[in-house]
């Protein structure tokens, strides 16, 4: 009896002490995957298969955490980045994520790539209450904290980008006659929806033509001829790189000069603008949120200097014009920030809570003025872009940073 009392008294004293000194003596709390010395982070990437070009993102993240560990880790803990190949196949993604969770026992899954793969693992991870943090896809559905409180996006969603174009059009060309060319899949349809939402009541009168193409078609020329016949003065190109290049080229061949706006997915100078022909691409508009690593205007930018040092030291021989390295660096830096904010409370719930409390965070690789913000009801960290115009052999930014937040569904 006496001993019970004594324990109770001691417990009360400890509680009182803990309550008065929360920050200085914060209790260390861990879920599976975190210890005093290590944080285990899981990831899946298409290192092989049709989308293997994106595998560079995984390699960049691995290199980034190696750098973090060389600098002493995060709050004294090393990041153990475990990344597996899902070959862009949903069944393989499920197998690899279950391996990460049940066999490797990671704290959470970070930046898994691809809409199909993420859809396949979303239900499983949410049922197990394991964060599916900063998914590498632009679909809008990841911002749904009510139904999927353990899933969060990272990059600007396709819809928010399309809204930015719509807003810009309404301001700069209020009486435009717009034709939309989009890929007939979730990617293209998200853009179409964003455009219509952005135009609001004016959508019906502004958009005079919606033309879709299948990704299986060898050439897009027929669609361009058809669109030209309707004589719009603005062409929105929501197409993947190969088709985007064909569109810009064909438009020039026809001697047609509408105002062309191109999705951020296809702004690569090397794989779109060069094949389309620089002379054909002059004046094309688009929007960006990240710095272009091949653009000389960032040569003295402190953020890109850090990025260059990182690539030189940890990824020697890598192709610096590859936008995937810029992407992976930014995503990994965001995660490092979240882990730092989580402090010694490395539970899954707290990691998710911290990820949802980002305030004006700016990774080294995003454009000046673009900031990451999240809240309990906003699971879309990046929602700002800046318009840019193609001039000479590169993109030139203009105007203000525009926000295109899409309310969660």
């Amino acid at each position: 009896m006496l001993s019970t009392l004594r324990i109770a008294a001691a417990a009360a004293a400890v509680t009182a002490f803990a309550a008065t000194s929360t920050t200085a003596f914060a209790q260390k709390k861990y879920d599976t995957g975190a210890t005093d010395t290590e944080i285990k982070v899981g990831n899946i990437m298409p290192y092989s298969g049709p989308a293997s070009a994106y595998g560079v993102i995984g390699k960049t993240e691995e290199a980034y955490f190696k750098m973090i560990n060389d600098q002493g880790g995060i709050n004294g803990r090393k990041v153990n980045f475990v990344s597996y190949d899902d070959a862009y196949s949903p069944p393989k993604a499920v197998e690899q994520v279950r391996k990460l969770v049940e066999s490797d026992e990671v704290l959470f899954v970070f930046n898994p790539l691809g809409t199909p793969s993420n859809t396949a693992i979303q239900k499983y991870l949410n049922a197990k209450k394991i964060p599916q943090l900063f998914v590498a896809t632009g679909a809008t559905k990841w911002n749904d904290p009510k139904n999927f409180p353990w899933t969060m996006g990272w990059q600007p969603s396709y819809q928010s980008e399309a809204q930015i174009y719509a807003k810009w059009l309404m301001k700069e060309k209020p009486d435009a006659k717009v034709a939309v060319l989009y890929q007939n899949d979730d990617f293209g349809k998200d853009y179409l929806k964003g455009t219509k939402d952005g135009l609001g009541a004016k959508a019906a009168s502004t958009i005079i033509m919606e033309e879709s193409y299948e990704v299986s078609e060898p050439s897009i020329d027929g669609h361009i001829v058809k669109i030209k016949a309707a004589n719009p003065d603005v062409l929105l190109i929501y197409a993947t790189p190969k088709f985007a290049a064909q569109t810009i080229k064909k438009t020039a061949e026809l001697g047609w000069k509408p105002l062309q706006i191109l999705t951020n997915v296809s702004i690569s100078v090397g794989s779109v603008m060069r094949p389309a022909g620089f002379e054909n691409a002059q004046g094309v508009l688009s929007a960006a949120y990240a710095k272009d690593s091949s653009d000389p205007q960032w040569a003295n930018d402190p953020g890109m200097k850090k990025w260059n040092e990182f690539v030189d030291k940890y990824m020697p021989g890598a192709d610096k014009t590859d936008t995937s390295i810029v992407y992976g660096y930014g995503a990994a830096q965001t995660l490092a920030k979240v882990l730092q904010m989580s402090g010694d409370d490395l539970t899954r719930a707290n990691v998710m809570k911290q990820a949802a409390s980002l305030k004006d965070f700016a990774p080294d690789t995003v454009l000046p003025g673009v900031k990451l913000n999240t809240s309990a009801t906003d699971f879309a960290p990046l929602a700002q872009l800046q318009m840019q115009r193609f001039k000479g052999e590169k993109w030139e930014l203009f105007g203000d940073i525009i926000s295109g937040d899409v309310a969660s569904e």
Partner: protein, 338 residues
């Protein structure tokens, strides 16, 4: 005769496998069965999930084995039948709220019909030309599934999320373990039926066609009927495997059923030993685990490492697991004598 000489003297594309050599002895079968029943009780849920996938791909390889090893027809289009089965199960479960177990026979029947109908025009083709025709089917399938016309049911590119079934009757086991035993029972059932099929009159007709089509028809075998029948049976079993796969993975999307899957299944059949039914499981293990091993050796070169491993297997044991089994039996026999 060494393995190399055997290859040189071999004329046909598909080697004639006597029907007795197509199965395992009773003793070995029992050992394998006991291992398959007991292992899940000892391992983690994740391993159980992998074993379930092993059985499911094993079924799909077995189906191809009946077609190629049994009737001598090539197919690179098994992924299409697998996809049809998977989507049938998923659509029935999610849109019609049907019990998962009931969707499987329906998936099987639909795929049987699909395979049988496809087998009709394919009759005019043989060898590599047939392989090409089925290849076309496999490349077309993911895009057909994305068509706007079917989108209401298939979910388009987004695919369909499937609810995983709980163990019935309040059995105290996890969803994974229940699904494993459920799959195991179906696999054993289909395996036994396949063995019996190949030992039956129809099976003999398949093999007669495989060995020499003209001789077979001279003996009174209805070549057209049995060839399409082999296609139908193979597609039906693949469809059941696809349905099980959809339930185990809890998700179907066009990207899961590309030509890569068809080639994996073909690979599994060759590695397991063409015409040797128990080899299907070995082949399935190869296509599931070897890519993981290759990735463990080198992430950037996983494809190349996989290629090297595959090359080694084909070079050292050209007849796949069957050859290993035969050598092992001979060694065992020698040891016994001594």
């Amino acid at each position: 005769m060494s393995a190399a000489e055997e290859v040189v003297t071999e004329g046909q594309a598909v080697e004639a496998v006597p029907k007795r050599a197509m199965t395992l002895g009773y003793g070995t079968s029992l050992v394998v069965l006991v291992a398959l029943i007991i292992t899940p009780l000892l391992v983690k849920n994740f391993i159980i999930f992998q074993m379930t996938m092993l059985l499911i791909y094993g079924l799909a390889v077995l189906a191809l084995n009946i077609l190629t090893g049994g009737s001598g027809q090539f197919s690179l289009g098994q992924s299409a039948f697998y996809a049809v089965g998977a989507y049938t199960s998923a659509i029935l479960m999610e849109h019609a709220n049907m019990n998962y177990a009931l969707t499987l026979p329906i998936a099987g029947i639909i795929c049987f019909g699909f395979g049988y109908l496809f087998g009709k025009p394919a009759l005019r083709l043989s060898g590599v030309y047939l392989a090409l025709a089925t290849f076309a089917l496999a490349t077309a399938m993911p895009q057909l599934l994305k068509l706007g016309f079917f989108e209401h049911w298939t979910g388009g590119v987004q695919g369909l999320v499937v609810t995983k079934p709980d163990a019935p009757f309040g059995l105290p086991m996890s969803q994974d373990m229940w699904l494993y035993y459920f799959t195991l029972v179906i696999t054993i059932g289909i395996y036994l039926a396949s063995v019996n099929l190949l030992r039956s009159r129809s099976g003999r007709a398949f093999m007669a066609i495989r060995d020499n089509e003209i001789a077979a028809s001279a003996m009174g075998v209805d070549v057209a009927l049995y060839k399409t029948l082999a296609f139908g049976v193979s597609a039906g079993i693949t469809g059941v495997a696809g349905g099980l796969g959809a339930i185990a993975v809890q998700f179907v999307a066009p990207d899961g059923y590309t030509i890569t899957l068809a080639i994996s299944l073909f690979l599994g059949m060759v590695v397991g030993g063409v015409g040797w039914l128990p080899g299907s499981i070995v082949g399935s293990a190869f296509i599931i685990f070897v890519p993981n091993i290759a990735e463990g050796i080198s992430k950037g070169l996983s494809g190349a490492v996989f290629g090297v491993l595959l090359f080694l297997v084909i070079f050292l044991v050209p007849h796949g697991a069957r050859q290993v089994a035969i050598v092992a039996t001979q060694l065992f026999g020698k040891l016994k004598k001594n």
